[in-house]
């Protein structure tokens, strides 16, 4: 799914590669630190700019956890569980819910849908045991 209208700079390629390898939902800082291993001179502003850019182009997804942005390259429809104690975020899949969400989304009046996010907020197992 390579878009023709996008300029694949070194920085963007490294960011996409990093997100492809990463298991989870890294913050901007995570991406910056990771990409820096290969592009030692990359600026954090470039990471911010390109994460936003790539998200706008639909190549990656942004998910906000407790006020901070996280990213992923997994574009398959899925949901998230987010621990309100430790901030842990995990994927959760329910095809039925994805389907209904999309269906509802497409029928909202006076609104051009871009995406529909379902977040389950609660306390993870580990935090519960404490």
């Amino acid at each position: 799914m390579k878009h023709a209208d996008i300029k694949y700079t070194n920085q963007r390629v490294e960011i996409l590669d990093f997100l492809g390898d990463f298991q989870g939902h890294p913050t901007v800082e995570d991406v910056y630190e990771g990409v820096r291993q290969k592009l030692t001179r990359i600026s954090k502003a470039t990471v911010y700019n390109n994460l936003k850019f790539l998200a706008e182009k639909g190549l990656i997804k942004e998910v906000n956890v407790k006020g901070v942005s996280r990213f992923e390259s997994n574009l398959m429809p899925h949901h998230h569980t987010i621990c309100i104690k430790c901030g842990e975020i995990k994927d959760y899949e329910s095809e039925q819910l994805s389907d209904l969400t999309m269906e509802v989304a497409e029928n909202i009046d006076d609104f051009t849908i871009r995406s529909a996010d379902v977040n389950f907020l609660g306390v993870c197992k580990k935090c519960m045991e404490e």
Copy 2:
């Protein structure tokens, strides 16, 4: 639905009153400015503390839009449409979706559910016309 185990200080009452009157989803700043009309000497820290406190107690709901906290006293199950251009947030109701979301939420393993948020991101009518 007045909780007995909560101390209803002037500040808390004013915050709750403000949220009850307000049509929409005010930010902390909005609440601060609003409540200040009556309690001119209230501190912004108190607004922060009490909004968090009241949300934890379940008397109000917090909803995060583009990384900033917003609040509402509408506790009925509902969803939100959020404009990615201007940030406008509006309520949207689908009983079917609320029901399925709750059902799915209750069956997530190793996770103590607190709430399930559905956010529709897109472009509102006004922003679309520009």
